[in-house]
Symmetry: C2
Subunit: 582 residues, 2 copies
C-alpha cells in the first residue's frame, strides 16, 4: 500500500506528505471518511500522524498505542514513539530533514492551521507547501463522508432559540468591530444553531460550517442531510442553508473583519480568507459553558436516568461476579444495555474505558475484541457516559470484586478523600480551576503520587463530553483562566494509577451554583449531578475523618433517595446496604 | 498651615499639588524627612495622599485611618474615604476637575512614575506637569534626610560576596542586551551589595541608589554615612562610591539600553533617562527570594531565638494575666524586651500589631499611646517580628486569656485547620502560590467567611519583612506567577476577622524544600521555621481530624525540643503542658 503511495509522491514531485488524524473541524473523534492515516499505514488507533517521503514512512503515536501500532503498521513504516527519549517530534524531524526547494504536501482541509504555523516557525529553509488531497483518487473504496440526518434540537431540552443565541454572538461581533464570524467547530455550531446530527462517533453533531453576519446567518450542510422543514424553520430565524463545501469559496469573498478562532481551524479555510482575521475564541464557547435553567433541569434528569443505569449495572456486576464469565468487553456491553433501556438515550458519550487491574493503570486503555482481560478478584475501573436527548453524562466508578489488598483499599480511600474535598468545596467567586485543583490532589500528593492529568473538564449539553473553556487543572491553559461561573458543569475525577498493578478513579459531574453573598463577596459551591454509590467495599473507614464520613454518608443518602424509586425490590435492598452510613 | 501653602501655590501658578507618602525609593515605610503629607495635613497615619489646590485640599486614606484622619486633619481638608461608595479615587477626581491649561505639580523624586503614567491615561485635557519640591523652603524645621551609618553585611550571615551577586546580574543584563542597570529599591540594593543601614524604620537598609554596568558598579550613598574601610572593601569588588543625588545626573548620561523596573521608580529619575529603557523586574528580586545554604542556616537560628523570645513572652502573659495591669502597649513593650535580650537582635521587623478582641478585627490596627485597650478576658492577637543580624522573623499568635466563648474557640480551630493544611502540604514542583491558597481558606470558606487578604508573603534575609516575587494569594498578581522554589521563605497566615467582635490569626514562616523526585516529577513541601506553641486553650479538639491532631502534636513536640533548652525550669514545665499531645 505505502509503496504505491510513494510512487504517487514521486510522480507529483512531493518530498514530504503529512497525514494527520483530523477532519475539517478538528473534532476529537473523526468519521470513517477521514481515516486516511489508518488506511495508508494499517494502524487504526485513535491518534497518530503519518509522514511519507518517496523512500520512507514514519508514524508518530503516543504511549497508549506503541504495542498496537507495532503490530499493525506496515513493515516499511518506522514507528516514532512520542515523548520517548531521543525520539524527535514530527516538527523536529522535519526541521532536521527538509532542504531548500523541498515540497511539503498535505490535504489542507484536514491539516490544522496551527501546525502549518509551527512548521513555518521551525523551518528556516526555502520550502514549498502544496495543498493537495492525494488520497482522493488513490483510496478506491474510501467510505463516503458521513451524511446522517441533521435535525433541530427541540427547544424543550435547552430553552433558547437559535435566533436568540445568534443575537448575543452578533452583539459580541459588534463590540469587536467584526462584520462576520466563521464557526468551524462542530459543537459550537451545534449549540449556536440548535443543530444536531450523527456524523461523529459519540457526539451528536452534524458535519457543518457556519457563517454569521450582522444581519443574517448561513449554515453549510451536506446536501441530502436535511429536509424542507428544517430549511423553513431556519429561514424564520434568518438562517439560510448552503452546501457544505461552499464555505471555502464564501470565506474567500468576505470583506471587512472576520472573527475566527485560528486555534481550531483547518489550514485551507484560513488560506482562503483575504480580509482581516480577528483571532479569538468563539464567543459561543463561553456562552454554552454556562447552562441555563432549562438545560440544568434537563441535565439533572438525564443524570438520574444515567445513575439508575449504572446502579443497576453495579448490582448486576456485584451479584454475578464469579457466577458467570466476565471480561472487559462483555461487562462493557452489559453496561451499555442498561443505558439503552433509559428514556431518550441515544449513544455512549465516549468510548467506554472498562479496565481490569493493571489495565486501568493505562489512563487511556481501551479493551478490544482482540486484546482484553477476563475479570476476577481485584479492581475494575469503568469510565463511561451517555448521550441523552436531555443531557450528556460522564461517570467513573472503580468496583471492588472479590478480594482486594490493603494497599488497594488505601489508595481507593485516598482518591476518595480528594474527590470528596473538591465536591464539597465552598469558594469565593473569582476562583478558577487552578485554585481548586489541589483539593483533589492533596491526599495523594502527600504520598508522592500524582495522576498526571487534569482533575476535571467541562461537559456539553447533549454535546461533546469534553467542553471548554473552564477546567480544573494544576497548570493554567490559556483558555482556562476563567472563573467558575454558576451554571458551569465540571467533572471531579482524581485517581491513582500504578503501572503494572491497578488504577483507581472516582468521577462525578458537578454543577457550579451560587451560595451566600455577604460582605466578603459571592460564595460558590457545587451541586452534585451524578448519583451512583462509591463502592463501600473499597473504603478503609479508619482513614476517613468525621467530616469525610459525613460527606460520604450524605452523598449516599441522596443516591438512595434519588435512584431507588427506579429499582426493583431486590436492587433496592442491595442499594440500601451499599449506601448505608459508615 | 494649609492656607499658607495654598498661597504658595497661587504664587507659583500651580492648580493641583499632589503630596504622596513616599521616599525616593517607594519604600514600604518612610523616614521623618519624607513625612511631608503629615506635616502639611496634620494626619500622621502610615498611608495617605494629599491633594492641594489654591482653594481646597483633600486627603485620601483607607479604612484603617478614617477615624484617626477625621480627628487629626486640619478643618479645611476634606477627608476622601478610599473604596467607599461614591468616593472617587484621586485619579478619578483629577480626571473630573483638571481643565485645559491647568498645572499639576509635585516633587518628582517622591512621586511614582506609575502614578504619572496613570494620570496621562485618564486625563484627556491639555495640562502641564511641573516637578517642583514646594515644601523644600516652606517646611522650616524639616528633619534632615536620615543619614545613619551604612555598613557591609558580614559574609558569615549570607555567604555570597557582592562581586558574585553582581556577576549573575551582569549575566542577566547581557542576556537582555542591556549595558546598564539602575536599582532604586533599597532591599534590592541591600541584597546585591551586601549593604545594610538604618535609614528606614524596621528595615535595615540605607538610603542608596545603584548603577551596574557590564564592567563596574556604583553605589550612591549620602556623604558621611560610610567610612574609608567600606570604600576600600567595595573597590576590591569593582564597586565605586558616588554621592546619593548624583544618580539623577548619571541617569541622564546613560547610553545604550538600561534595565530598570519602572514599577518601583520615581518619576524624576525616569524623566532624566535619555537612552532606551528595558522595563522588567529587578533580577535581584528573584535571586534574593531563593535563600542559599548559609542564609538558611542563619535564618533557622534567628527563628529559634525569636521562638524563645515569643515563648517566654507567652509564659509571662499567661501567668501574669489579671495579676498585673496589661494593655496593648505595655504587652507589646514586654514582647520587645524579650526579643531585645536575644543575641544579634537589632529592631522589630515591622510595627507590632497587638490587638485585643474587636481591635484585632481591624486587620491593620496599631495601638497608640492615645488610643489603645486594656486587656482582660478574651482573645489577644499579636503579629510581630524581629530583625536579627542572622535573619528576619514574622510571627502571629492569638492568645487566649481567661474566659472565651465557644464561637471564639470554633473560629480559632477553623483557622488552625487551614493553617495546618498549608503548613503540611506536599505539592509537585510547578505549583504557584495560587495553587496552594485554598488549603488555608477551605475551612473558613465553608462557613462563608473570608479573610480578604493574601495567605502568605515572602520574607527577606535581614531585610524587608515583605518580599517578592512569590506569595500565596487567591488571585495572581503579575509578579507572583512564579513557582515556589526550594529556598524560598513564605508565611502561612490565615485568619478570621469579625467586625466588632474579635480577630484570630495564626502565622508561621515556612521554608520551601525539595522532597522526593520520582516518575511524577519533583515533589516539594515546607519546613517550618517558626517555633512557638499554638495556644491549646483556644482549640476545640473535637473539630480536629486525627490527621490534624497528629500535625499539631508533631509541631508542638518540635517546639518543645527546639525551644525548651533556652528556658528556665518554670518556663520549661509550663511549655511541656502547652505542647502536650491532644
Amino acid at each position: 500500500m505505502i509503496k504505491d503511495f510513494q510512487k504517487l509522491l514521486k510522480e507529483k514531485h512531493i518530498d514530504y506528505y503529512i497525514v494527520p488524524t483530523d477532519d475539517d473541524h478538528q473534532s476529537e473523534m473523526v468519521g470513517d471518511y477521514y481515516q486516511v492515516r489508518a488506511y495508508l499505514s494499517g494502524f487504526d488507533g485513535s491518534a497518530g500522524t503519518l509522514l511519507v517521503t518517496p523512500e520512507n514512512a514514519y508514524l508518530w503515536t503516543d504511549g497508549r498505542y506503541f504495542i498496537q501500532a507495532a503490530k499493525q503498521l506496515e513493515d516499511s513504516i518506522t514507528l516514532m514513539k512520542m515523548r520517548q527519549k531521543g525520539v524527535p517530534t514530527i516538527l523536529e524531524f522535519l526541521s532536521e530533514h527538509v532542504e531548500d526547494g523541498d515540497v511539503i504536501g498535505f490535504d489542507g482541509q484536514t491539516m490544522t492551521y496551527q501546525f502549518v504555523n509551527q512548521l513555518e516557525d521551525v523551518l528556516d529553509v526555502d520550502y514549498e507547501i502544496k495543498c493537495i488531497d492525494l488520497v482522493k483518487d488513490f483510496w478506491k473504496d474510501r467510505p463516503e463522508r458521513s451524511h446522517e440526518k441533521a435535525y433541530i434540537y427541540d427547544k424543550q431540552y435547552h430553552g433558547m432559540s437559535a435566533g436568540e443565541k445568534i443575537e448575543i454572538i452578533q452583539e459580541y461581533m459588534k463590540e469587536n468591530d467584526c462584520q462576520s464570524h466563521i464557526i468551524t467547530t462542530l459543537d459550537d455550531i451545534a449549540w449556536t444553531f440548535n443543530l444536531r446530527g450523527n456524523d461523529i462517533p459519540c457526539s451528536p453533531t452534524a458535519l457543518a460550517f457556519a457563517l454569521i453576519t450582522l444581519d443574517k446567518s448561513f449554515l453549510y450542510l451536506q446536501q441530502g442531510t436535511y429536509d424542507l422543514d428544517l430549511v423553513k424553520a431556519y429561514q424564520q430565524e434568518n438562517i439560510f442553508m448552503k452546501d457544505y463545501l461552499d464555505i471555502y469559496q464564501d470565506a474567500a469573498d468576505l470583506k471587512g473583519r472576520v472573527l475566527l478562532s485560528t486555534n481550531n481551524v483547518n489550514y485551507e479555510l484560513v488560506n482562503q480568507i483575504q480580509c482581516e482575521i480577528v483571532d479569538g475564541t468563539n464567543p459561543s464557547q463561553a456562552f454554552k459553558s454556562i447552562k441555563n435553567d432549562v438545560e440544568i433541569k434537563n441535565t439533572k434528569n438525564a443524570h438520574i436516568k444515567d445513575g439508575v443505569a449504572v446502579t443497576k449495572f453495579m448490582y448486576w456486576l456485584k451479584n454475578n461476579f464469579e457466577k458467570i464469565n466476565m471480561d472487559e468487553i462483555s461487562v462493557s456491553d452489559k453496561l451499555l444495555s442498561f443505558r439503552s433501556q433509559q428514556d431518550l438515550f441515544i449513544e455512549p458519550s465516549f468510548t467506554t474505558i472498562c479496565a481490569y487491574q493493571e489495565n486501568a493503570a493505562l489512563m487511556h486503555y481501551h479493551a478490544t475484541k482482540e486484546n482484553h482481560s477476563d475479570i476476577h478478584d481485584g479492581l475494575l475501573l469503568i469510565d463511561s457516559g451517555g448521550q441523552y436527548l436531555d443531557g450528556t453524562t460522564d461517570i467513573t466508578r472503580t468496583f471492588v470484586l472479590g478480594k482486594v489488598t490493603d494497599k488497594q483499599k488505601y489508595h481507593f480511600t485516598k482518591v476518595l478523600q480528594g474527590f470528596l474535598a473538591l465536591q464539597n468545596a465552598h469558594f469565593l467567586y473569582g476562583a478558577i480551576g487552578l485554585s481548586l485543583d489541589i483539593l483533589a490532589r492533596y491526599p495523594i500528593w502527600a504520598d508522592n503520587i500524582d495522576y498526571q492529568c487534569g482533575t476535571g473538564h467541562g461537559v456539553g449539553h447533549f454535546l461533546n463530553v469534553h467542553e471548554g473553556p473552564h477546567g480544573i487543572r494544576p497548570v493554567i491553559r490559556s483558555t482556562e483562566n476563567t472563573p467558575l461561573e454558576a451554571g458551569m458543569v465540571v467533572t471531579d475525577e482524581p485517581g491513582v494509577y500504578l503501572e503494572g498493578e491497578y488504577g483507581i478513579r472516582h468521577e462525578n459531574e458537578l454543577l457550579v451554583v451560587e451560595g451566600v453573598e455577604n460582605e466578603y463577596g459571592q460564595f460558590m459551591h457545587f451541586e452534585t449531578l451524578t448519583y451512583v454509590p462509591i463502592d463501600l467495599d473499597g473504603i478503609d473507614i479508619d482513614l476517613l475523618s468525621n467530616q469525610e464520613r459525613k460527606w460520604l454518608n450524605e452523598y449516599h443518602k441522596e443516591v438512595y433517595n434519588k435512584i431507588s424509586p427506579y429499582l426493583t425490590n431486590a436492587e433496592k435492598d442491595w442499594l440500601k446496604e451499599y449506601t448505608k452510613e459508615i
